[in-house]
Amino acid sequence: MAVNKVPGRYYVGRKMRSRIYKTIIFVVLIVLSVTILAPAWWMVATSFKSMKEIMTTSNTFWPKHFHWHNYVAAWEAAPFTRYTLNTAFITLFVVLGTVISNSFVAYGFAKIKFPGRDWLFSILLGTMMIPGFVTMIPTYVIFTKIHWVGTYLPLIVPSFFSGAFFTFMLRQFYRQIPNELLEAAKIDGAGHLYIWWKIMLPLVRPALATVAIFTFNGAWNDFLGPLLYVSNESQYTLQIGLTTFQGQVATQWNYLMAASVVALLPVVLLFFLFQRYFIEGSNIMGGIKG
């Protein structure tokens, strides 16, 4: 089904069939896209409304007037530029740490045999099964004892020690790669570090890009982490900033939505621009040839 290269023998009927087939897919995609986008549009529509319209008229999908100024007002309601920079700073390191450490550790679990490996892997998986808030307070106490509370270190450093989810995921990708490749490299005298960096990483590039985009997403939207560990408002992140629109009495929905839209733009844009890394990805065989 996923074939896109039609070998040699073209003939008209086939071309026609493929065209019809593509049209059907196109239509299905359009319909699905509308379904997916309708909810998201509601968010955008709200961001342009006045509070009065939100409070007093039944919700509509089209604002009576487009209050572009909402965006300016929302952005100026809190130091959002500062918050964006803070968020970007944390996210950058977290992505870097996560991609490097997980791809490294996962290689060990996937492609090297050593005693206790399966046990250690079970423990790794086990860490996923305990809800985060069980360890939240003890972890906070540890970070307090080493004087990291009040800095971004508790948010960034753990990402350099890999984690269960992405290690497991990358292990699965590594295991899709035939071992013959490794053996050939070993015979040529390559060590594991070399194989990992030079052979494996290029082969799992789509997976790495996925890890990067997931991590970016997660770090960008992280809320509780920064909230717990930061002790100064100038260190706040976007997600914390967004909460200022939710008042005790009334929420400023229009500003909340406007700022939310702006806050998620970078993630959407990033995905749009970088998707070729995991879409036009590296075919295993292509990787070998290259």
């Binding site: 074939v3 919700n59 550790v105 060990g108 069980v134 003890p138 290690t167 005298g189």
Partner: protein, 320 residues
């Protein structure tokens, strides 16, 4: 990180004195060392602490006395909400995991075609996964509004009277599952990455043998992506048992207080009950006992999954 590979490019020629197998073992430990160090220093202590406190009346700030198995016994015999929470969570996992898997995979296959505007389509389908925070929950309260919500309006076009969703205890969980399904773009991305790694030569060979699109999908594509399917299912189950945020926020859709599991406890998921016990009632020892019971349940399920995987998961790299 950049310097290491260069430095070790020459490494294989050295250290001839160590046997190949010993070197292999050492390399293994070196590779997993970042995780091991992180685990020992950041995770192990809090985990053991929480296991120990599950046998105490720990409340974080004032007491921590040994109570033996009392917390575990209370859970099974006295707590009226424990079974409800376990049921709700199981219901959620049983429905959401298969639906997510099928949804994500179908979407990935669709998005793996060469059709005009694919970059935009992919971005669109990934979008829900990006959206987060209170805005999304609000959005869903709106979409699943019994009267004016998009879903019920669309259903009424076909003459179907839609359910009251978050106002009806029988439909609140399906509502949450639907929400979850909307964000299927994350799983889709993984499958897409996996589909990209299927060697094209396999397809070419199959086509020469006269295999049709369906056969090619069934015999080539599907087996090749089973490792990722397996990953999705295992992590989907683990994550499903920890569903929290949805229940916490959507409790308010029917006018309940956040975390109450409203309407009529139908959204009281296991982790929600744990949270309430730990951070509302400060019965942290009890909450930790709940956590470790959940751990045991999920561990058994995961072990079963790994056992079963031998039958259907195909690793191109062999079973080493």
């Amino acid at each position: 990180m950049q310097l290491q590979p260069k430095a070790t490019t020459n490494a294989p020629t050295k250290n001839r004195s160590l046997s190949l197998r010993t070197r292999e073992k050492i390399a293994g430990y070196i590779f997993i060392s970042p995780w091991l160090i992180g685990f020992l220093f950041l995770t192990f202590i809090p985990l053991i602490f929480s296991l120990y406190t599950s046998f105490t009346n720990y409340d974080i700030t004032s007491e921590m006395n040994w109570v033996g198995f009392k917390n575990y016994i209370t859970m099974f015999t006295i707590d009226p909400l424990f079974w409800k929470a376990l049921y709700n969570t199981t219901f959620f996992v049983v429905l959401s995991v298969p639906l997510n898997t099928i949804g994500a995979l179908s979407l990935a296959v669709l998005l793996n075609q060469k059709v005009t505007g694919m970059r935009i389509f992919r971005t669109v389908f990934y979008l829900p996964h990006v959206l987060s925070g209170v805005a999304v929950y609000l959005l869903w309260m709106e979409i699943l509004n019994p009267q004016t919500g998009l879903v019920n309006v669309a259903l009424s076009w076909f003459g179907i009277h839609g359910p009251a969703w978050f106002f009806d205890p029988h439909w609140a969980k399906p509502g949450v599952i639907l929400m979850q399904l909307w964000g299927v773009g994350g799983g889709m991305l993984l499958y897409l990455g996996s589909l990209q790694s299927v060697p094209e030569s396999l397809y070419e060979a199959a086509e020469l043998d006269g295999a049709g699109p369906w056969q090619r999908f069934w015999n080539i594509t599907l087996p090749m992506i089973t490792p990722i399917m397996f990953f999705e299912i295992v992590t989907g189950i683990i994550g499903g048992f920890q569903v929290f945020q949805q229940g916490y926020v959507m409790s308010t859709a029917s006018g309940g207080s956040p975390g109450s599991g409203s309407p009529v406890n139908s959204l009281l998921f296991y982790n929600l009950e744990m949270w309430n016990q730990a951070f509302v009632n400060f019965k942290v020892g009890y909450a930790n006992a709940m956590a470790w019971l959940l751990f045991a349940i999920v561990m058994v399920l995961t072990w079963l999954n790994f056992k079963l995987s031998k039958r259907w998961v195909h690793y191109e790299g062999g079973d080493q």
